[in-house]
């Protein structure tokens, strides 16, 4: 009766809602008040011969079941109606039966004969539903009947019944696992089914019953791949997950041998900038290694079946179903070559727009991915910015992703984001943000000090939680370099008076104890205060107080002996046994008595041992050993029934296995290509089957992404693909036939594929051969032109260094020659700065024709150093200021863009000319020098396919139409680096070849000099320091240094700084007028100023010299990263 009273209560509570089962029949509601009676009434209704009454009764019973009320006593009355004619009554009876059959096994048997009859019904839907209910009744006695029914249904004409059979398999398996072997036979049979309707369900059954029997898949692999796109969404998920596992056992790791792939991958490999940096380097290295290892290495060739899987799953990234997208994403993550994984990023980012639960799961997976493949998500950084409306768990995950994505280039934007987060009202989130800042600081050395400064600022925050969290993080950071930060430790020592959060107090005490040598005066005082409040502290704090006391006793026993003993005595009588134990242990260890053994000698070593700094790691590290997207991955623990993702086969997969598979699949395909069978399949085929006709179009679509397979997709027969494409939309027999034909073509082709060594292999091999040829050629050429090029090199190097007068003249001559040669092909160019013009004109007169194109000027790289200084001397005369005010006074450094050997005779060097780039002031001018040392002419030199980080722009240099053998040409391009040191990547194209090159600027080239007086300089510096940013102190970076012995005079310092960065000296002459206290002449201060090219942020550099070559370098810049990098560069320049 308790149930009934509960029911009545509930009814009372929700009276406005109304009890659903009374909704149709208000009369029946109030009459029966007790459970018993009501059931009686229900029985009566069920026994009546009116369908409407039966229906009413069943509805009420179902409503009871839905609410979790027990209705099992009605079983006999209900089961009688299983043969009822009324469909709805029947359905509801089924619902009841499935729910209670397990409890009333004997009675349930009464219904079986009805279902058995149903299994023979001519209507496929009735057959299917009979099988469905029969298999859902969990009664062990009927296992043989179920087995028989399933076997029969598995060979039913109707695919729908076969699907139901597939569904029934796991039901029977869970009821009686002993049937496994027989069920596997059925699964094997159904796996061979060619309809999309069955595919998903049977793979599901496979996964539940025999996931280890991966061998069953061999024969059906290609069919599953091809059907995939037409399978319903849920089936797709299951199939993709299963195929991921399959592929892991059957194919080679595509990333084993990345260099070749990257060469093969051609156009798309450089999809994301940052990846590219690595790649480029790798490529360089590997190219060298390649020459040596060429003969040895067996190139990786992707199995065509592997490719098939990747190609056929890719369109599913566009699915509306998040689970499908995730399944494809994990498949790509686990199986695709590194260069192709990038495609999933966009789709995953799209899922972030979905429900928060979806976001939660996707972000967890993205977090794992970002650790392995950061470059993939970098372009979508902003999609992970946190919104105040996000739930906390999403915020924390986004924070995790942002932290994983942080690197030198984006850290300043990320930190700025973090600053805003710190002010959030969500305190858990603020704490997480502070930890994230800590992790950024440990991972990226350049911003460590900045972050630390910022965190120290937070110590004065009013929110205690914020302060506490900061303390904990600062503690970790300080552990990395404690000697530099004793003032921070002091500051934190003061906090003990106010801060109450135990963890923070404990952290402070630990810090003081650990580094008590750095704060010898404060530490004992802290201990004194703590001893006073000892009894009121939390346990964790007490332990640290004891620790602190012990450490102080060991280092400074004179002052702290009594205090330590006092603390230990207090601890001795503490309520917590841990604390009592600790006190006893420590007393024995540190206070020497006759009993204390040898150990106390080592007490100091024990307590004050150097402790390694904690490594702040992402909790998502190494999670990728779980299959992404799985429940186990999400929980980071193996869930029941989780199938491990196997490791790639070590060596090349056993060729015999591959052969077997090929052999097996050949008959499969030949079978299919016989016409009748195809027709039969056609009938069952859902509508225009994309998947069938697809091989053509997909392949061609794919050829973009996979240049290796280019030859395959290019092979004429595919042309028909696009033709039939349009016909596809029209329905009817015609198109079907057409499709068939096409398919057959496809089949034939496939057969060919199988007979011949796979085309992909061919193409790759051929491309490799080409490479080899090229290499051979270049070698020959090299030996031919060895002497010549050597000369070239020499002279070039001389030209850049040239110190002697005669080499200069030599160059002069050479230059004349070169410019003379250069004139016809390259459009001559003009230069701009007034000063430069003046200087140049001295030389120009005989060397340069006045340039017709107003484009840009290459600075004359051949200007020898001495010449420059000479010219400086000239300009001195008209400048009152010190010579150093002229900015680009030093040698321009040449960088290599394309080496002669890689470029097959074409070599390209570039330098940052430090000239304003006239077409766009926000661009950095890069002057390139092309030298053709090959024996043939190079035509149509131009650039293509520029790949840039977002925001960056490039102004291409004008095409050089002809560069004859042995000639040299110059061109200037402009690049807007967006104030980052990200490389600009592009292809340098000649009429025959394309070369991937990249230009990465040193940070010093991202600025242009500006003229400031000393007063202005100081004002600007003030302004920067008082900026409104939350994390103050981020704008200034100071370093102490010792100047190099050769670099202690004014000239040397100025020159080295201006070489390292494109800055102009702030005249010190004005100093005297403005500030009365003239600095002592032997310790001058040098100031330099500039602005970044893109955002015009001020860059202020101060070098203050002190005694004996000591100096202090201060850089002020709003752009934190630029500042830190600049400090590094200048430091290097001044100390070497």
């Amino acid at each position: 009766m308790s149930a009934s009273s509960a029911f009545n209560d509930e009814k009372g509570g929700s009276s406005s809602v109304g009890e659903p089962e009374y909704g149709h029949d208000p009369a029946s509601g109030g009459i029966f008040s007790s459970d018993y009676k009501r059931h009686d009434d229900l029985k009566e209704m069920l026994d009546s011969n009116k369908d409407s009454l039966k229906l009413e009764a069943m509805k009420r019973i179902v409503a009871m079941i839905a609410r979790g009320k027990n209705a099992s006593d009605l079983f006999p009355a209900v089961v009688k109606n299983v043969a009822c004619k009324n469909i709805e009554v029947k359905k509801l009876v089924y619902v009841y039966l499935v729910r209670y059959a397990e409890e009333q096994q004997d009675l349930a048997l009464l219904s079986i004969s009805t279902f058995q009859r149903g299994l023979k019904d001519p209507n496929q839907l009735i057959r299917a539903s009979a099988l469905r209910v029969l298999s859902s009744i969990r009664v062990t006695i009927i296992v043989p009947i179920m087995m028989l029914a399933i076997k029969e249904a598995a060979s039913d004409m109707s695919p729908y019944v076969r699907k139901t059979a597939a569904h029934a398999i796991p039901k029977l398996y869970s009821l009686d696992p002993e049937q496994k072997d027989q069920l596997i036979e059925v699964i094997e049979k159904l796996l061979a089914d060619k309809t999309t309707l069955v595919a998903g369900s049977v793979v599901m059954a496979f996964e539940e019953v025999c996931p280890e029997r991966i061998d069953l898949i061999h024969k059906n692999y290609r069919k599953l791949c091809n059907l995939l796109i037409d399978v319903e969404e849920w089936g797709q998920v299951v199939i993709i997950n299963m195929l991921t596992r399959y592929a892991r056992t059957q194919f080679l790791n595509p990333n084993i041998n990345e260099s070749l792939l990257e060469e093969g991958g051609g156009g798309e490999k450089t999809f994301y900038g940052s990846d590219e940096d690595e790649d480029e380097d790798e490529e360089e290295k590997e190219k060298k290694a390649e020459v040596a290892a060429m003969a040895k290495r067996k190139p990786y060739v992707m199995d065509p079946d592997h490719r098939l899987l990747l190609r056929n799953t890719k369109p599913l990234l566009q699915s509306r179903n998040a689970a499908v997208v995730m399944a494809v994403a994990q498949l790509y993550f686990h199986l695709a070559p590194k260069a192709e994984v990038g495609v999933i990023a966009k789709a995953l980012v799209r899922l972030l727009r979905s429900h928060s639960e979806v976001q939660y799961v996707v972000l967890q997976n993205v977090a794992t991915m970002t650790i392995k493949r950061r470059g993939m998500f970098e372009p979508y950084l902003k999609s992970f910015y946190i919104r105040s409306t996000d739930p906390t768990q999403i915020k924390v995950l986004k924070l995790e992703v942002l932290t994983n994505l942080a690197n030198e280039t984006n850290i300043s934007t990320i930190l700025r984001e973090f600053q805003t987060y710190i002010k959030s009202m969500d305190k858990d989130f603020v704490a997480a943000t502070i930890q994230a800042i800590g992790r950024c600081a440990t991972n990226i050395g350049e911003v460590r000090d900045t972050c630390l400064n910022g965190l120290v600022q937070l110590l004065s925050n009013r929110d205690e939680l914020v302060v506490a969290e900061s303390v904990v993080v600062i503690k970790k950071l300080l552990q990395m370099q404690p000697e530099k930060h004793s003032d921070i430790i002091k500051h934190m020592a003061k906090l003990t008076d106010n801060i109450q959060v135990p963890m923070a107090r404990a952290s402070i005490l630990w810090l003081i104890g650990e580094y008590c040598e750095h704060v010898p005066k404060i530490a004992p005082d802290v201990l004194r205060k703590m001893a006073k409040s000892f009894t009121n502290e939390e346990d964790i704090v007490k332990l640290q107080i004891i620790n602190l006391a012990a450490k102080l006793y060991l280092t400074n026993s004179k002052q702290t002996k009594l205090l330590t003993q006092y603390v230990l005595n207090l601890a001795k009588y503490d309520q917590n046994y841990d604390i009592r134990d600790r006190a006893r242990f420590i007393r024995q260890l540190i206070v020497p008595t006759e009993k204390s053994g040898a150990l106390s000698k080592y007490a100091k070593k024990l307590f004050l041992a150097l402790k390694p700094a904690p490594v702040l790691e992402s909790p998502f590290k190494d999670r990728d050993h779980f299959q992404l997207g799985s429940l186990s991955h999400l929980l980071n623990a193996k869930a029941g029934g989780y199938q491990e993702l196997p490791d790639w086969p070590e060596a090349a997969p056993d060729p015999s296995v591959r052969n077997v598979e090929v052999k097996e699949s050949v008959p499969e395909w030949t079978k299919c290509s016989s016409r009748e069978k195809r027709k039969e399949k056609k009938v069952e085929k859902p509508f225009y089957s994309d998947s069938e006709g697809e091989s053509g179009p997909t392949e061609s679509a794919d050829s973009e992404s996979d240049s290796a397979s280019g030859s395959e997709s290019g092979s004429g027969s595919e042309e028909s693909g696009s033709g039939s494409e349009s016909e596809e939309s029209e329905e009817g027999s015609e198109s079907e036939e057409e499709e068939e034909e096409e398919e057959e073509k496809d089949k034939k082709k496939k057969k060919k594929e199988l007979k011949k060594p796979v085309p992909e292999t061919e193409s790759e091999q051929s491309s490799e051969e080409e490479d080899r040829k090229i290499k051979r050629k270049s070698k020959q050429r090299k030996s031919d032109s060895e002497s010549e090029s050597d000369e070239d090199e020499e002279s070039e190097s001389e030209s850049s260094q040239s110190e002697s007068e005669d080499s200069e003249s030599e160059i002069e001559v050479k230059k004349k020659k070169k410019t003379a040669e250069m004139k016809p092909p390259s459009k001559p160019v003009k230069k701009e700065t007034k000063k430069e013009k003046k200087e140049m004109s001295l030389l120009d007169l005989d060397d340069f024709e006045p340039a017709p194109s107003p484009q840009v000027t290459p600075v004359n790289t051949f200007l020898s150093n001495s010449l420059v200084t000479d010219l400086e001397g000239l300009s001195l005369s008209d400048s009152v200021l010190s010579p150093a005010t002229i900015a680009p006074s030093s040698v321009l450094k040449n960088y290599e863009l394309l080496h002669r050997i890689t470029g097959e005779g074409l070599s390209v060097e570039y330098c940052f000319s430090r000239q304003p780039f006239s077409p766009d002031a926000n661009m950095v001018a890069v002057q390139m020098q092309f030298t053709n040392s090959a024996t043939s002419d190079t035509k149509n030199l131009h650039m293509e396919d520029v790949k840039l980080q977002s925001g960056m722009r490039v102004k291409e240099f004008p095409e050089i139409e002809l560069l004859s053998a042995g000639e040299t040409a110059m061109a200037v391009m402009g690049i807007d680096f967006c104030d980052s040191t990200q490389a600009a990547n592009f292809q340098l194209c000649t009429h025959t070849r394309k070369f991937f090159v990249s230009i990465q600027p040193p940070v010093g080239e991202l600025m242009r000099p500006i003229f400031l007086t000393e007063n202005e300089f100081k004002k600007e510096q003030e302004k920067l320091l008082q900026n409104l940013g939350q994390l103050m102190g981020m704008n200034e970076i100071t370093e102490k240094l010792t100047l190099d012995a050769k670099c202690r005079n004014e000239h040397a310092i100025v020159q080295r700084v201006t070489t390292a960065a494109n800055l102009s000296r702030v005249p010190c002459g004005s100093d005297k007028e403005c500030s009365p206290p003239v600095p002592p002449p032997d310790h001058p201060v040098y100031r330099f100023a500039g602005r970044t090219v893109t955002s015009s942020s001020l860059v202020l550099v101060t070098v203050a010299t002190k005694e004996e070559g000591a100096a202090q370098l201060t850089v002020n810049c709003e752009k934190m990263v630029i500042g830190t990098m600049l400090v590094k560069d200048i430091l290097l320049a001044l100390t070497q």
């Binding site: 109304g18 029949d25 429900h355 979806v358 939660y360 799961v361 002010k423 029934g641």
Partner: protein, 438 residues
């Protein structure tokens, strides 16, 4: 896969349970309630909760938790996506998906759940097939059923599951053949305190309502398909055709469905349609703060900004707000500190503003955190990305359908950083501005 499903309402009562395999005791939900208690906000309950023998995967929709019980490894998104599909189906059937609606239609709900899952594996989730199996309740049908005793369940055997076009039933007939498409775009943006955009992107969907006889085959083409950066389709869209020609070619489902959702590439600059001017100050030592907020339209191509709703989470220290709106009405909840201002339509000639004072707790120090501002609004007849449908063609049927296309701009997550100016310090924080149109 999915073992059982429990529906839990906001007050923590289980009001519906359904089991697909053997029965799992409802006490398993205790783990869920524990997690619910731990979470401060309803949406902070972790979607996946491990228990000793089961895993609970839940979604929260319409203040109802749908808690699925899982026994072994399954992709969590699979379950989550399915649960959302269940909710969508309920919404489709009952108009709303509330506790009351579910309780009222408990039998239909049960029948639906029975059809959607078989042994825990999704069976029929297409609304077209489901509607053939189980007729959605309408007032008329309910009345007829009551009188005549007929049923909700389809009389004849459904054929949808056997159809070659699984999302469309055969034999559809309409007297008026119509196809309507709604292009709805949402702007997501974060704008920093100085008013410059940190990030802005446009997400859009094309929702369709197609009521066409027979088996029509439609193609929809755009004037500027290159705008679409990332797309996801209803399964009916032929992917190959899109890849090759940027044309949407499909046999539509019958009735309402989402044809396409897309993302407009971030390279295109997003024109932000509204601006906010704000001046919020607290003076140290005084218990008064000033609040001043003005809205204005910006780049709306002459279209009116309607249904503007501003809401803001004021700092906890604020006791009350005494404000004066130039139009519309505002409310301030002193408990949750939520300020909301129903602005209505923005008149460009007379910009709406909300000015006044806030009172702080006496003696309390100036609030540390900043208020957040949410704004919702609608703009009709404009797709902010500039996406334009070129034409809609129908093949396969003889009649001439009536076609209609509607554009809308709707802002999703739109945030703006706000400065609170104090007497001595500036605070920066992020507030959010949510713009919605329909």
């Amino acid at each position: 896969m999915i073992h059982s499903l429990f529906l839990v309402n906001a007050s923590g009562d289980i009001f519906l349970e359904k089991h697909w395999k053997s029965v799992v005791s409802r006490s398993v939900c205790d783990y869920f309630f524990e997690a619910q208690e731990r979470a401060t906000e309803p949406e902070n309950v972790p979607p996946v909760i491990p228990t000793p023998h089961h895993y609970l995967i839940s979604v929260l929709r319409h203040r109802i938790y749908f808690v699925a019980v899982i026994q072994s490894e399954v992709p969590p998104l699979f379950v989550i996506e399915f649960l959302h599909r269940v909710v969508d189906t309920f919404q489709d059937y009952f108009g709303v998906c509330t506790e009351a609606a579910i309780k009222d239609n408990v039998v239909v709900v049960y029948e639906l759940l029975e059809e959607m899952l078989d042994n825990g594996f999704p069976l029929a989730t297409e609304s077209n097939i489901l509607k053939e199996l189980i007729k959605p309740p309408t007032i008329l049908r309910t009345m007829v059923n009551t009188i005549t005793g007929s049923t909700n369940v389809g009389e004849q055997l459904p054929t949808g599951q056997l159809s070659v076009v699984p999302w469309r039933r055969t034999g559809v007939k309409y007297t008026n053949n119509e196809a309507y498409f709604d292009v709805v775009e949402e702007i997501d943006a974060i704008i920093d305190k100085s008013g410059s955009t940190i990030t802005a992107e446009i997400q859009g969907v094309i929702d369709a309502c197609v009521k066409l006889t027979g088996m029509p085959d439609l193609t929809l083409s755009f004037m500027n398909p290159r705008l679409l950066d990332d797309v996801s389709f209803h399964p009916c869209v032929r992917f190959k055709r899109w890849e090759a020609e940027r044309i949407l070619s499909f046999i539509p489902p019958d009735g309402n469905f989402r044809l396409l959702s897309y993302h407009v590439s971030s390279q295109n600059l997003v024109a932000i349609p509204v601006y906010v001017k704000h001046n919020i100050t607290f003076r140290e030592g005084s218990s008064q703060g000033r609040f001043d907020l003005t809205l204005g339209p910006k780049q709306t191509m002459g279209k009116a900004v309607e249904s503007v709703l501003v809401s803001s989470q004021l700092p906890r220290g604020v006791l009350n707000a005494n404000l004066n709106p130039s139009q519309g009405t505002y409310t301030f909840d002193p408990v949750t500190k939520l300020l909301s201002w129903d602005v209505g339509k923005i008149n460009p000639q007379k910009l709406p503003s909300l000015k006044g004072t806030m009172s702080l707790q006496a003696g309390a120090s100036k609030p540390d955190e900043n208020p957040t501002i949410n704004i919702q609004f609608k703009i009709q007849q404009m797709a902010i990305s500039g996406l334009k449908v070129n034409r809609l063609d129908m093949y396969g049927e003889k009649y001439k359908p009536f076609k209609g296309i509607k554009y809308m701009t709707k802002a999703g997550k739109f945030q703006r950083c706000v400065w609170i100016a104090g007497s001595d310090r500036y605070y920066t924080n992020r507030a959010s501005l949510i713009i919605v149109t329909s």
